[in-house]
C-alpha cells in the first residue's frame, strides 16, 4: 500500500478516473463552447456544418444585431437595475432583521421564526397570481420597483437566517463598548455590526445576484403588457417567438445574457462555492 502511494507514476485507476471525469466534464462544458461558436457563425452555418465548431469567418455582426436591433441593450439595463435593486433590498432587509433575531429576545420572536420556517420552500408558481394582483393594486405592475419588490420584499429567508446565525456568534462586548461611547442602536448597527458581517453580506449579495439575474416567471408575468421592461431572460424568449430562425442572433443574445453571471462566477468561484456549501451546512 505505502509503496504504491510513494510511486510517482499515476496508477491505472487514476488514469481511468481522469479520463471518465474529462469525458463527463466535456459534456458539462460543451454547450457553452458550442454556444460561443454558434454566436460567431451565420444561421445556416450553425446546422449546416455538422460538428465543426470553428466558424468560417467570425460573424461579430450577430452581437451587434442582438444588442441594438433586437433590443438586448435595454433588456440588459433592465436586468441590471432589477438585480441591483433586489440585492440592495434583500441585504438591508435581512441584515436588519437578522441582527435583532440573532442577538435579542423580544415578544413575537418565536412566532416570526415559525412563520419563516413554514414558508421556507414555497414554490414561486404558487403565489404568482396573488403577487401580480397585489402589484396591480399598488399600481406598480409596469415598473422596475414592482419587479424589485416582487423579488426581494418577501421570501429570502435564507439570507435573514444567515445574518442571524452570524450576529449570534459575535461577542456582546462589541455593543457594550460602543454603547459606553454614547452610540444608539442604529449607530451601533451601521457603524459596528454591519461592517463586521461583511462575509455574510458577500454571501447574500452573491446568492441574491444569481437569483435576481436568472429569475424568469415573475418578470415574465409582470412585463406581459410592457415590452420596455423586459429582462434578459424574458427578452430571450420573446426573441425566439419573433425571429424563430435567427439562431446565430439567439446564440449571441444568450452569450450577452450569460456573460455577467459566468464572469462573476469565474472571478469569485471560491466564494461562490463556499457560499453555497456554507448555507447548506447550517
Amino acid at each position: 500500500m505505502t509503496a504504491r502511494l510513494l510511486t510517482r507514476r499515476p496508477s491505472t485507476r487514476q488514469v481511468v478516473t481522469v479520463v471518465v471525469l474529462a469525458v463527463l466534464g466535456g459534456m458539462w462544458v460543451y454547450p457553452f463552447v458550442w454556444l460561443v461558436s454558434a454566436s460567431l457563425k451565420t444561421s445556416p452555418e450553425i446546422f449546416g456544418r455538422g460538428l465543426n465548431l470553428l466558424p468560417e469567418t467570425p460573424v461579430w455582426e450577430n452581437y451587434v444585431r442582438a444588442w441594438t436591433e433586437v433590443g438586448f441593450s435595454s433588456y440588459f439595463i433592465n436586468t441590471l437595475i432589477i438585480t441591483a435593486g433586489t440585492v440592495l433590498l434583500v441585504v438591508v432587509r435581512s441584515a436588519l432583521a437578522g441582527y435583532v433575531l440573532g442577538r435579542y429576545d423580544f415578544i413575537g420572536k418565536k412566532f416570526l421564526i415559525g412563520l419563516f420556517l413554514v414558508t421556507f420552500f414555497l414554490p414561486e408558481g404558487y403565489t404568482i397570481i396573488s403577487i401580480t394582483q397585489l402589484t396591480d393594486q399598488l399600481r406598480l405592475l409596469n415598473t422596475h420597483a414592482g419587479v424589485i419588490l416582487g423579488l426581494g420584499a418577501g421570501g429570502q429567508i435564507a439570507s435573514t437566517l444567515l445574518y442571524a446565525g452570524y450576529f449570534r456568534r459575535l461577542p456582546k462586548e462589541l455593543e457594550e463598548t460602543a454603547r459606553l461611547d454614547g452610540a444608539g442602536h442604529f449607530t451601533v448597527f451601521f457603524r459596528v455590526m454591519l461592517p463586521l458581517a461583511w462575509p455574510i453580506t458577500a454571501t447574500v449579495v452573491i446568492l441574491t445576484y444569481l437569483y435576481a439575474w436568472n429569475v424568469y416567471l415573475l418578470p415574465l408575468v409582470f412585463t406581459l403588457s410592457e415590452p420596455d421592461l423586459r429582462t434578459l431572460a424574458v427578452g430571450m424568449t420573446v426573441f425566439v417567438g419573433e425571429r424563430s430562425t435567427d439562431w446565430s442572433g439567439m446564440a449571441a443574445a444568450a452569450v450577452i445574457s450569460l456573460l455577467p453571471v459566468i464572469a462573476v462566477f469565474v472571478a469569485l468561484q471560491r466564494k461562490f462555492v463556499d457560499s453555497i456549501a456554507g448555507a447548506v451546512k447550517q
Binding site: L35, F47, I129, F189, M236, V280
Partner: protein
C-alpha cells in the same frame, strides 16, 4: 438549511446585551424594545405583503370566477375544484410533475454523490478544476439554458448528430420535440444544469467524515467499496435525507427551464403543474385566474405535504447527527 433551535436561542439570551427580564410586563417590554420592531419593519411589511398575503389570498381567489385583473371576480364556491378534478389536462400536468420528481431527483442526488466520492478522493487530480466545470451551469439563467438547448437538441444539432455518429440512434432525432421523450429531455437538461450544486452539498457532507475513520478502515484492510458501504454511507444517511429533500423542493421550480425548452409540449406531453397554472392564468384568451388559483392551491397543498415530510426528515436527520 439554517434553523434556529430552542437551545441556541436560550444561549443567545445570556450572551446578548439586555439581561433576561422576565419581570417586565409585556407593555413595558414592547415600549423598551420599540427599536427592535423598527429593525424588523421592512421584513414584516414585505413578508406580510409578498409572502403571507399571497398565500392566504390565493385560497380566496380559488373560489372565484375571475376573468382578468381588471374585473372583479364572482364567488362560485368550490366549482373550480370540482372542475379541476374532472380536468384531464390538470391530472396530466400533475402526473408529469410527479414523473419529473421521481426520476430527476434520484438521478441528480445519485450522480452527484458518485462524482463527489471521486472528487473527494485524495488521489484524484485536478479536483478543483472539475468541480468548477460541473458547477458552471448552476450560475446560468434557466430560461436561457432552455432556449439554448432547443438548438442543441435540434435534429440537425450537435447532440443528435453525435448520437447518430456513435451509433446510439439510427436517424437524427429531436428529443425535446417528440411527445414520447420531451419530458425526459427536460429531466436530462435539469439534471445537467443543477448537478453542480448537489455536488457541492455532497462534498460539504463528505468533509464531515473524519479522516481517522478512513484510516481505521484502511488498517482493517477494508477495500474501497466495503469502506463506502459500511463506514462512509451510514455517516452520510442524514445528509442523504436533507439533500434529497432540498432537491425535491427544487424540482417543483422547473417553470423557467421547461417553458423555454418545450413550452409544455408537444401536445402537453411535458406540461408540469407550474406551466398549467401559467397557461390558464396568463396565456388563455380569457384569463381564468380563479381556476388557476385553485390549481395553485391544490399544488400548494401537495408541496406542503412534502414540506412536512421534509420537516420530519430534517428532525430525524438532526437527531442522527447529534448536536452538530
Amino acid at each position: 438549511m439554517t434553523t434556529t433551535t430552542p437551545e441556541r436561542d436560550h444561549r443567545s439570551t445570556t450572551q446578548a446585551p439586555p439581561p433576561p427580564r422576565r419581570g417586565l410586563s409585556w407593555a413595558r417590554r414592547l415600549r423598551k424594545d420599540w427599536w427592535i420592531y423598527l429593525f424588523l419593519l421592512p421584513t414584516i411589511l414585505g413578508y406580510g405583503a409578498y409572502t403571507i398575503y399571497p398565500l392566504l389570498a390565493s385560497w380566496w381567489f380559488a373560489l372565484l370566477d375571475w376573468p382578468g385583473f381588471a374585473t372583479a371576480g364572482t364567488f362560485v364556491g368550490l366549482e373550480n375544484f370540482e372542475r379541476l378534478i374532472g380536468d384531464e389536462l390538470f391530472w396530466n400536468a400533475f402526473w408529469n410533475s410527479l414523473v419529473f420528481l421521481v426520476i430527476a431527483v434520484p438521478a441528480r442526488v445519485g450522480l452527484a454523490l458518485l462524482l463527489a466520492l471521486v472528487l473527494n478522493a485524495k488521489k484524484t487530480p485536478f479536483k478543483g478544476f472539475f468541480r468548477t466545470l460541473f458547477f458552471l451551469p448552476v450560475v446560468t439563467t434557466g430560461a436561457i439554458v432552455g432556449v439554448v438547448f432547443t438548438l442543441l437538441l435540434d435534429a440537425g444539432g450537435p447532440i443528435s448528430l453525435s448520437l447518430v455518429w456513435s451509433g446510439l440512434i439510427d436517424s437524427p432525432a429531436n428529443f425535446a420535440a417528440e411527445a414520447g421523450t420531451s419530458l425526459f429531455a427536460g429531466i436530462a437538461v435539469w439534471v445537467w444544469k443543477w448537478l453542480g450544486i448537489t455536488l457541492i452539498y455532497w462534498l460539504a457532507a463528505l468533509q464531515t467524515v473524519p479522516q481517522s475513520v478512513h484510516e481505521a478502515a484502511m488498517i482493517d484492510g477494508a477495500g474501497a467499496w466495503a469502506e463506502f458501504r459500511h463506514v462512509t454511507m451510514p455517516l452520510l444517511v442524514p445528509f442523504l435525507v436533507i439533500i434529497t429533500l432540498i432537491d425535491t423542493v427544487a424540482a417543483f421550480n422547473v417553470f423557467d427551464l421547461l417553458q423555454t425548452l418545450t413550452g409544455g409540449g408537444p401536445s402537453f406531453s411535458s406540461e408540469v403543474i407550474e406551466i398549467f397554472i401559467f397557461r390558464t392564468a396568463f396565456q388563455a384568451t380569457v384569463p381564468q385566474l380563479g381556476y388557476a388559483s385553485a390549481a395553485a392551491v391544490l399544488f400548494g397543498l401537495i408541496t406542503t405535504v412534502f414540506a412536512l415530510a421534509q420537516g420530519l426528515g430534517m428532525r430525524w436527520a438532526r437527531s442522527r447527527m447529534g448536536t452538530s
